[in-house]
Amino acid sequence: MVRVIDAMSIRIKGLKKKFGSFVAVHGVDIEVPEGKMLVLLGPSGCGKTTTMRCIAGLEAPTEGIIELGGQPVFDSERRINVPVNHRNVGMVFQSYAIWPHMTVTENVAFPLKMQKLPTAEVEERVAEILRIVGLEQFRDRGATSLSGGQMQRVALARSLVMRPAVLLFDEPLSNLDARLRDHLRVELRELQTRFNITSVFVTHDQSEALSLADQIAVMNTGRVLQADDPVTIYQNPHSSVVADFIGYRNIFPGAVRQGGDDGILFALDESSFELTSVHPPPPGEGGIFACVRPEDFEIEAHRPDQPVKPNTFIGEVTSASFMGSYTQYRVRSTTGQVIDVFHNRAPLDLLPGSPARLHVAPKSVLLLPMRSAS
C-alpha cells in the first residue's frame, strides 16, 4: 500500500539572489499549497532554476524567506539557513544525476541509508518504489546500462523513496525524445497526485507546463510575471510577454483607435490594418499588442470575387506543414504581417503561393500591454 506523504506547503517571500553584480532573482513571492504542483515557466536565464535551487538549499539566497510546511528553512533576517541535507527535499535533475558506480537498487536505497533506517525497511521500501516506477526487473543493473527514460525513473524513485517534504523537478524531461517525454509526463503527474507531494517543476516548454501544473508561474528576468492556474493563464494572460510564453504565436504592436459597443478598434503599427477586439486592455506599460493564438484563425482560400468579412487578413501562403492532427500554415498578409495558423480540420488545398484569407473572431483577439501594471 502506498503511503501518502504528509504534504507540506511552500511559501517564498521576497526571494532575491545575486551572483556578483548580476541579479538572477528579483524579489519573488510564491505559495504552493499542500500536494499541489507549481510549474515555473520561462526562457533560459529567467531565474526559474535559481529559484528552485534556493528551495532545495543548493543556493543561498541573498535575501528573503523560504518556508516548508510553515517552518522557515531560510530567512535572511533571522539568519536561518537549513543545510540542503537537512531539508528533506527531493529533486529530479535534467542530467538524471544517477550515480554510475552504483546499481539501481543502491541508487534508490541511498537516501534511506543516509537516514540509517534498518536494512529490512530499506529493502522493503526500495522494492515497493521500484515496482511503482516499473523498474523491478532492473534492480541489480548498473545504473549506466539504462536508457534515458529508465534513468529518469530511477531518479524519480530515489526522490520518492525518501518521502520528501517537497519534490523539485529541474526540466527532467528535456533530455528525452518526444514520445517518451509525453509518456513520462503523464506518469509523473499521476505519481505526484497519487503520493500527494507538493512539487515545483521547472520548464521552458509551455505544453509541458499547461499539462502538468495546478498553478503556473511565468517568469522572466528574475521576476514572476503572472501566477495562475493553467486554464486562466491560457485564456487570460495579463501581458503580451506572458501570452508569448504560453502559445500566442501572433503578437502585433499597435494602438487602440476607439472603443464602441461592438468592440474596440485596434490599428496595427506600420500597416493600414485594423483589428476588432471585445477585450479592453488591462492596465500596464510598454505599449499595447494584439495577441492571437494560431488555432483561433480560420483559414480558407481567398477568391477576390467573394466578399471579405471584417477582422480578416488577406495574404499569400508562404509555407504549409502537415502535422498530423493539424496543418501549420504561415501566411504573409498584404498589409505586412507574418501570421502562423494551426488548421485542425480537414487539410486544405493551400500550397505555398496560394492566396488565402484569415479570419479571427473579435473575442479571440486579446489586447495586452507588454508588462502588466501589478
Binding site: 538549499g57 536561518i80 543545510p83 540542503v84 541535507n85 535533475f93 544525476a97 541511498f110 543516509m114
Partner: protein, 562 residues
C-alpha cells in the same frame, strides 16, 4: 540547524592558502630577494641591497650560455615537434601497419629518464672512443659524430621530447570527427586541401601548445648540458646557475640573478603561449570520438613504417644496447667494433658490485621514500586544491588556482635554490634530511598533478553530488560515497604520475641533498663527475629498469593523466 560561522567556513581556505604560500611563493621570493642582496639570507653575514649581481648577466660565459640556451631550445623543439607530429598523424589517420605499436613508440621515450638517455648518448657519440664512432671508424667513414656539441644537445633534446607533441597532436587529431572532413569534401575540397585547410588549422593549437611545453622543459633541462657539455665547457643557462652555486667559492647571489634571467625566458614563452593560443581552443568542436577516416598510404606505408622503426631504434634500441654494453664491459677501452661485441670482454661483476654499492642502495632507498611521500601528500593536498577550485564558491579559489599553476613558469634550479634558502634558516630542521627534497618536489609537480586532478574533478557532474546532498548526505559523506568512487581512476592516475615524476627528477633536488640524502638521480648525476663510466652506465641501467618496470606496472593507471 545552525550556520557555520565565518571563522569555520574560512578556516580551510586560509589553511590551504598559507600552505600554498609557503610551498610556492616563499621560495620564489627568496630567490628574487637574494638576487638583490650582497649575501645569502640566513647565512649569518649581514646583507645589503645591491644591483651588482646582475653584472653576472653580462659576463661572457653567461651571454654565451644564454645564446646556447636559445639555439638548443629552438632546434630541439623543432625536431621534437616534427617527429611527434608525423608519428601522431601516422598513428591517428593512416593505414600504417601495426598501428597500436606506433602509438607505443610515440609515448615510450616518456618513461626513459632524460638523465639516463643523455648518459647513453655520451656513450654512443661523445668523442672518438664512443661506440658509434668506433663503428664509423671501422667502416672507414670519413666523419665522426660528436654529441658534445650544440648539435648533440639539440639531437638528444629533440629525440626524447617527442612524446609531448605526439600526445597532444594525437589527441587533437582523434577528436576531429569525420563530419567536418566530409563536409569539406562535400563542399568541393580534395584530400590535400582538406588536410591543409581543415585538419591543420584545427590541430595547430595543439602543435603550438606542445612546442611551448617542450621549449620550457628544454630551457630548464640540466642533464644534457651537465653530461654532454661538461667535458667541453659548453654551457646553457640552467647549468650556469648550477655552476655558480657549486663552484668554490660559490656565488649564490649571482646564481640568483642568472636564475631570474632563466625564469624570464620561461615566462616569455608562457606569455607567448597565452598570446598565440588566445581564442584558438577548438577542443569544444569535438564530438564523441566518432568514426574516423583513414588515409590510404599505398606503398608509402612501408616508408612510413621504416620511419617509425628508425625512430624507435635511435631513441630506444641503440641507447639500451649502449647502456648494457657500458655496464657489462670489464674494460672501458675498446679497440674496434669486433672488440665491442666480444663476449669475452663482458663481465657482470661490475654490475653486481653496483647493486650492492651502499651509495646506490642508499640512493634507491631515498628515491623511493621521497617519491612515496611526495605521492601521498601531493595527491591528498592537490586533490583538496582541485576540489576547492572547481567545486566550491569559496572566495580566494581563483588565487589558489593561480598559485597552483605558478611553478610551471619556475625553472627547477630556481625552485631548488629558493627552497634551500627558505628552509635553511627555519626553526624546523628539514635541511640535511630528505624532507627538504620533498618540499621542493611538491611545488615542482604541483601544476601537472593539479591539472590531472582538476580534469577528473570536472568530469563528475555537479548534480551527482547535489543529488546526494538532497538525499540527506553530509558534504563529507557526499565526497566519500559519491565523489571519490567516481574520481578514483583519475586520483590513482595522478598519484602514479607524481610517483614517477619524483623518481625521475634531477633539477628539483639540486643543492638540497647531502651525502646521506642523495636520491638515485643525483647519484647518477654526480658520479658522472667522478668520471667512472662503467659505474654511471651501470647505475643508469638500474635506474632505467626501475623506472621502466614501475611505469609498465602502472601504465593502466597512468593513461588518464597522459
Amino acid at each position: 540547524m545552525r550556520r557555520a560561522t565565518v571563522a569555520e567556513r574560512s578556516a580551510v581556505p586560509v589553511l590551504v592558502l598559507v600552505t600554498l604560500f609557503v610551498l610556492v611563493v616563499v621560495p620564489i621570493l627568496m630567490v628574487v630577494y637574494t638576487a638583490f642582496r650582497d649575501a645569502v639570507p640566513f647565512s649569518g653575514s649581514e646583507s645589503h641591497f645591491t644591483l651588482s649581481n646582475f653584472g653576472a648577466l653580462f659576463e661572457e660565459k653567461t651571454v654565451s650560455a644564454a645564446i646556447n640556451t636559445v639555439i638548443v631550445t629552438i632546434g630541439g623543439t623543432l625536431m621534437a615537434t616534427a617527429i611527434g607530429c608525423i608519428l601522431a598523424w601516422l598513428a591517428a589517420r593512416t593505414d600504417i601497419p601495426f598501428k597500436p605499436l606506433v602509438h607505443v613508440v610515440g609515448i615510450l621515450p616518456l618513461f626513459i629518464s632524460m638523465l639516463a638517455a643523455t648518459v647513453t648518448w655520451a656513450l654512443l657519440g661523445a668523442g672518438n672512443s664512443a661506440y658509434l664512432n668506433i663503428i664509423l671508424a671501422d667502416l672507414g667513414a670519413p666523419f665522426r659524430i660528436e654529441m658534445r656539441s650544440l648539435a648533440g644537445f639539440i639531437f638528444v633534446e629533440g629525440l626524447y621530447h617527442v612524446p609531448y607533441p605526439f600526445l597532444l597532436v594525437y589527441a587533437a587529431l582523434s577528436l576531429i570527427t569525420s563530419d567536418i572532413e566530409e563536409a569539406a569534401a562535400v563542399h568541393g575540397a580534395n584530400q590535400f586541401q582538406t588536410t591543409m585547410k581543415i585538419i591543420f588549422p584545427v590541430v595547430l593549437p595543439a602543435i603550438l601548445g606542445s612546442m611551448i611545453l617542450n621549449a620550457v622543459m628544454m630551457v630548464e633541462n640540466i642533464a644534457v648540458p651537465q653530461i654532454l657539455g661538461g667535458p667541453v665547457g659548453l654551457e646553457t643557462l640552467s647549468i650556469r646557475v648550477y655552476y655558480l652555486m657549486n663552484r668554490i667559492p660559490s656565488s649564490p647571489t649571482q646564481a640568483s640573478a642568472v636564475a631570474l634571467l632563466l625564469a624570464a625566458i620561461v615566462f616569455a614563452l608562457i606569455y607567448a603561449q597565452n598570446f598565440v593560443l588566445k581564442g584558438r581552443d577548438y577542443r569544444t568542436i569535438s564530438g564523441k570520438g566518432a568514426q574516423q577516416k583513414v588515409m590510404s598510404l599505398g606503398n608509402w606505408r612501408y616508408v612510413a613504417a621504416g620511419f617509425v622503426v628508425l625512430y624507435f631504434t635511435v631513441a630506444i634500441v641503440l641507447p639500451m644496447l649502449a647502456l648494457l654494453l657500458g655496464a657489462l664491459r670489464a674494460n672501458a677501452y675498446i679497440a674496434n667494433t669486433a672488440a665491442m661485441f666480444d663476449v669475452a670482454q663482458l663481465s657482470s661483476d661490475r654490475l653486481l658490485s653496483i647493486t650492492s654499492d651502499s651509495e646506490v642502495i642508499n640512493g634507491l632507498k631515498n628515491s623511493l621514500v621521497v617519491a612515496f611521500v611526495t605521492c601521498v601528500f601531493g595527491t591528498g593536498f592537490f586533490f583538496i586544491l582541485a576540489y576547492i577550485v572547481h567545486r566550491t564558491r569559496i572566495p580566494g579559489r581563483k588565487v589558489i588556482e593561480y598559485i597552483a599553476m605558478m611553478p610551471l613558469a619556475i625553472p627547477a634550479t630556481l625552485l631548488a635554490m629558493g627552497v634551500l634558502w627558505a628552509w635553511i634558516g627555519s626553526p624546523i630542521p628539514v635541511y640535511g634530511t630528505i624532507y627538504i627534497i620533498i618540499l621542493s618536489f611538491l611545488p615542482r609537480f604541483m601544476p601537472q598533478a593539479f591539472r590531472a586532478l582538476s580534469s577528473s574533478v570536472m568530469q563528475v557532474h555537479e548534480d551527482l553530488e547535489n543529488a546526494a546532498l538532497l538525499c540527506g548526505a553530509t558534504r563529507a559523506q557526499t565526497v566519500w560515497k559519491v565523489f571519490l568512487p567516481l574520481v578514483r581512476g583519475g586520483v590513482v592516475s595522478a598519484a602514479f604520475l607524481l610517483f614517477v615524476l619524483s623518481l625521475r627528477e634531477v633539477g628539483g633536488a639540486l643543492f638540497l641533498y647531502t651525502t646521506n640524502t642523495r636520491v638515485l638521480s643525483i647519484v647518477v648525476f654526480e658520479s658522472y663527475e667522478n668520471g667512472s663510466w662503467d659505474f654511471v652506465a651501470g647505475v643508469s641501467l638500474l635506474y632505467t629498469v626501475l623506472l621502466g618496470g614501475i611505469t609498465l606496472l602502472g601504465l593502466k593507471w597512468l593513461r588518464p593523466s597522459l
